[in-house]
């Protein structure tokens, strides 16, 4: 079977849903961050697939993927900083136990 755009989009959807499920159910803050990374990757796959199949000469999708990576990097930096700060305060990064928005 020839591989087409649909395959990539379905793969992207599957990856996104796995990430979503993980992000909703896990209690470890670092795992949640990792799941968000998975979702962002899923988005990237679909963006590049669109770019490659729909507008192959324009590369707009790839440019968007680069911006997504920038956002991902920023998110990880800030997210981990928050996780570390929480850990320092509570000695714990279980999201169920961290219900006070202050420290």
């Amino acid at each position: 079977m020839e591989i087409g755009l649909t395959h990539y989009l379905v793969l992207s959807a599957v990856l996104f849903c796995i990430g979503l499920f993980g992000a909703l159910t896990r209690r470890n803050a670092v795992i949640i961050l990792m799941c968000i990374e998975l979702m962002l990757n899923a988005v990237n796959i679909s963006l590049i697939a669109f770019s490659s199949y729909v507008v192959p000469q324009l590369l707009t999708g790839q440019v968007f993927a680069i911006f997504v990576m920038v956002v991902a990097a920023a998110e990880v930096a800030v997210g981990l900083a928050i996780v570390l700060a929480i850990f320092r305060h509570f000695s714990n990064i279980d999201t169920n136990d961290i219900n006070l928005l202050r420290w």
Binding site: E2, I3, G4, L5, Y8, L9, V10, L11, A13, V14, F16, C17, I18, L20, F21, G22, L24, R26, R27, N28, V30, I31, L33, M34, E37, L38, N41, I45, I48, S51, S52, V54, P56, Q57, L58, L59, T60, Q62, V63, A65, I66, F67, M69, V70, A72, A73, A74, E75, V76, A77, V78, L80, V83, L84, A85, F87, I93, D94, T95, N96
Partner: protein, 162 residues
Amino acid sequence: MGQAAAFWIMAVVIVVAAFAVIFLRNVFRAALSLILCFIAVAGIYITLSADFLAAVQILVYVGAISVLIILGIMMTREVQKGSPVNKMQIPAAIVAALLLGILVYVVTSTPWSISSQAPLTPTTMPLATKLFSENGFILPVEIGAVLLLAAILGAIVITREK
């Protein structure tokens, strides 16, 4: 032929690794699966003839983001506790499955206007022109740079010892 084989291998690796990320009890191994997933995604990019992005994917995700995450794991030392789940498991599974169904339905039923042109192969130069030319994405690039700076400053401020 080659592209199909590569796609299926990468797709299976990605899905398995992604499941490993959320289901492994050992957080460190989950992070390692995440790295595997990232590398496989880079492979997917290559099948889509986005070679520059594949290199950037490895550089940014494997070289920086995963390393940071592992640093976070080592510093928080949460491995003994594993990755516990909350009570939302069944509703979350239903939501995820529903979303997956809708997405797959939409993807398969939409008639995409697929171009017949071959994709650009060395993408480095055109990407650069696209990003930095005057009528390209120069403003978003600047905004992205500011965002990164803000994120770094924010991270430093949050983790700083008072």
